[in-house]
């Protein structure tokens, strides 16, 4: 086994990390929590928004991890397993605080004429993410736009496009059908496109 006193937590193999979870002392565990807690807080904050609630979700996730790490089967990376646990814990708090209301998104969806032909949006400038992302404020604005999406669509977009979970995983986590995941994902992306258009057009002028 590697010397866990000196080696950085991010260099530990999954096997050594599991060994640390089994036998680590408080100091080693603190390093483990500090290392993984950083990205877990980021994931949790994206889903929950509020920092204090996000911290609660991280604490719940660690409790879950400490309790269940022996059932980790090694069919994914340990970090992937922890990532799923963190998302589930954040979703549990989201349901508790916001109750994942069913909200309409119709105003932001694409429009068609009477012949079912697409009515193009006025904005037609090809966005240049490289140039756009140089503007620090723009990043925050994009986050703000995502927050404007109705909750039941925002969460699906976050889980699929940002956390990169599969449709099947999202379906399981949110207890909705895979077809429903795809419909919500498409609507959320379409709505986000409409929300981002004026911004992107303005930035690329």
């Amino acid at each position: 086994m590697l010397d866990q006193q000196t080696i950085s937590v991010d260099l530990l193999s999954d096997e050594d990390a599991l060994d640390l979870l089994r036998h680590g002392d408080r100091s080693q565990m603190a390093r483990f929590v500090r290392h993984h807690g950083v990205w877990m807080l980021a994931v949790s904050s994206r889903i929950l928004g509020k920092r204090d609630v996000a911290e609660d979700a991280v604490q719940n996730a660690f409790v879950n991890i400490f309790k269940n790490f022996e059932s980790f089967k090694g069919d994914s990376l340990l970090k992937t397993w922890m990532h799923r646990i963190q998302i589930n814990e954040a979703l549990m708090l989201l349901r508790k605080h916001k109750r994942l209301k069913e909200e309409p998104i119709d105003d932001l969806l694409p429009e068609f004429d009477t012949g079912d032909c697409r009515v193009a949006d006025e904005w037609t400038v090809s966005p240049s993410p490289e140039s756009v992302l140089q503007v620090v404020q723009f990043r925050e604005t994009v986050s703000g736009m995502i927050d404007q999406l109705p909750e039941n669509y925002r969460v699906v977009l976050l889980l699929r496009d940002i956390e990169e979970l599969s449709t099947a995983e999202v379906s399981q986590m949110l207890e909705i059908s895979e077809t429903n995941v795809k419909v919500r994902l498409h609507r959320a992306r379409a709505a986000l496109k409409k929300l981002l258009e004026p911004l992107m057009g303005e930035q690329t002028l």
Binding site: A30, V58, F62, G115, I146, D161, I162, L192, K193, L196
Partner: protein
Amino acid sequence: MKHGQPSIRRRLHGIMFKLPMMISCREFEDFIVDYLDGELPSSQMRIFNLHLKVCRECRDYLKSYVAARDLAKRALDEDAAQSLVDVPDDLVSAILDARGEGSPS
């Protein structure tokens, strides 16, 4: 948004999209997620690509749709990277206390 009378080109599109192997723009919408996931069966892929070839509006739409998706991913990833903060000491302590074992360092 008021759209007025469809132009001749749009009316031609409307007729063309009713031909065999053709779909309307509204139907095109239903294919997008599977197309981007690489999960469209080959028969539907042909239909999707055919519409894409003849419909400039849907080509532009798909381009912007993908750009917005990619931009959201990059913006949130970079946002997270910029705002990464150390885990507060009291949270670390609370987590370790919840574990209920180990000796103080």
